[in-house]
Subunit: 264 residues, 2 copies
């Protein structure tokens, strides 16, 4: 664990009581000792100096303190991590089958995506597109669990959020609300195709980028036309036809590499 992610219910109190699995993880798995300090982060991404104050029966109490400016914090892991700048990435991922969503969500979190929105689209798993069920249902807890674990392991300073309901692809323009550049990755040539470097050439690293990735079947022709009409730019990947879960990570890596290589 490179940092401890505080529960969603944490609101800046000076003490927090952890029970069950959360407590076990710190006490039994990491074997933290009473009075040990470690770095935490809340769901807003704010850093906290945490201290294990007491251990009870299947629970423990942490003291939470806002560190002073410049105060070095103790990580339970010694590896230093990249300190930025980070691009502001937003992933709109058409729902894939089963475990693939978990892999995509975990890897997007590792890379530092700010928000992940799952979309339903023409070629996405019938199960969901038919039901027209906005709820993530049983998947939600597993996806949230992947995010929490990935933030803790990767030391990511970005508090990745999962949008709490699935949206139809047609709601993308409204949800995105022109916050910045929106790209969709696909694998057939379209008119007015630009390279990723061209599209990002005037894009400051501070400005948000949305990436739309299709499900197993990609985007339909109608969906591509809809996205273009909504101002999204098509990007052709300079690689083979990728599976959906590979395409998501490849696309996010590509954007992060192009923007950060220019800065560093």
């Amino acid at each position: 664990m490179r940092q401890y992610l505080l529960p969603d219910t944490f609101e800046g109190e000076d003490h927090v009581l952890l029970t069950g699995k959360e407590s076990q993880y710190l006490v039994k798995v990491l074997r933290l000792k009473i009075a040990q300090h470690f770095m935490g982060r809340d769901r807003e991404g704010k850093v906290w100096d945490l201290c294990l104050e007491s251990i009870g029966k299947n629970n423990c109490v942490l003291g939470c303190r806002v560190p002073d400016a410049g105060e070095p914090l103790v990580s339970t892991d010694v590896l230093p991590s990249y300190s930025g700048p980070y691009p502001h990435l937003f992933l709109y991922q058409c729902l894939c089958k089963g475990k693939k969503n978990e892999q995509i969500v975990r890897q997007a979190t590792e890379l530092g995506v700010e928000e992940i929105v799952l979309l339903t689209s023409t070629y996405c798993t019938k199960e969901f597109s038919k039901k027209n069920d906005k709820n993530l249902g049983g998947q939600k807890d597993r996806l949230e669990g992947q995010i929490k674990e990935a933030i803790q392991q990767s030391g990511s300073p970005i508090p990745t959020h999962l949008h709490q309901e699935m949206l139809p692809l047609t709601s993308f323009p409204q949800h995105w609300n022109n916050r910045g550049l929106a790209l969709f990755f696909h694998q057939s040539e379209r008119a007015d195709q630009k390279s990723l470097t061209q599209l990002l050439s005037n894009h400051p690293i501070e400005s948000p980028v949305a990436l739309l990735v299709g499900s197993e079947g990609g985007f339909s022709e109608e969906e591509c036309n809809f996205l273009e009409a909504a101002g999204c730019k098509p990007v052709l990947l300079n690689t083979n036809i990728l599976r959906a879960e590979t395409a998501a990570l490849y696309g996010l890596s590509a954007i992060q590499v192009v923007l950060t290589e220019r800065e560093n």
Copy 2:
């Protein structure tokens, strides 16, 4: 299937008999019809015009013909794919736990890596580092299966090969034999650190690049020193601490993106 990968035993004969699973896949899963033509590729990466000539009981016969120059070939899938140029990527991956190796090998094949060599290193799965067993054992068939499936699905023109035995990290210099630039990805700052763009700035896309990726624990300090003494260049990723399987794909994507964006 975007292309059919011919068996290892194929040596350019004008007919090939397929049995068991191979035959079932074409006849039962893809439901190809007698006289149907489709695109094939042999293990050298050479393209063949294949034709289903007869269907027997749990077997089938394909006619194999070298297409004329410029002759368009029929793919069983209509998606056009990227036509190059491709960087010449070689992945030296320290062995990870269980299924992770399969994911890494599959995704590296999707991206068009030419050869994958599995390495044993200080922090790699004890099971293997202790046994000192060069054989990939039971894993070999599963990894080969992932490669075949990935070549067929991704339409990759690169006939990815898996080195048939594991090598200790210390054998890397001998195996690589200075064929081109060798990079190792790691996540702590080293002296004389250059960015990926700087390292690749004078690297022609035609020239081979080796990427070394650590196992779950990364590379030890001694291993980093050894690799640097052998002429490998350290690259610090501009992102969070990644899991081994994410790091492999991120690193390969990064190199492919930097080299192909420059060309296209």
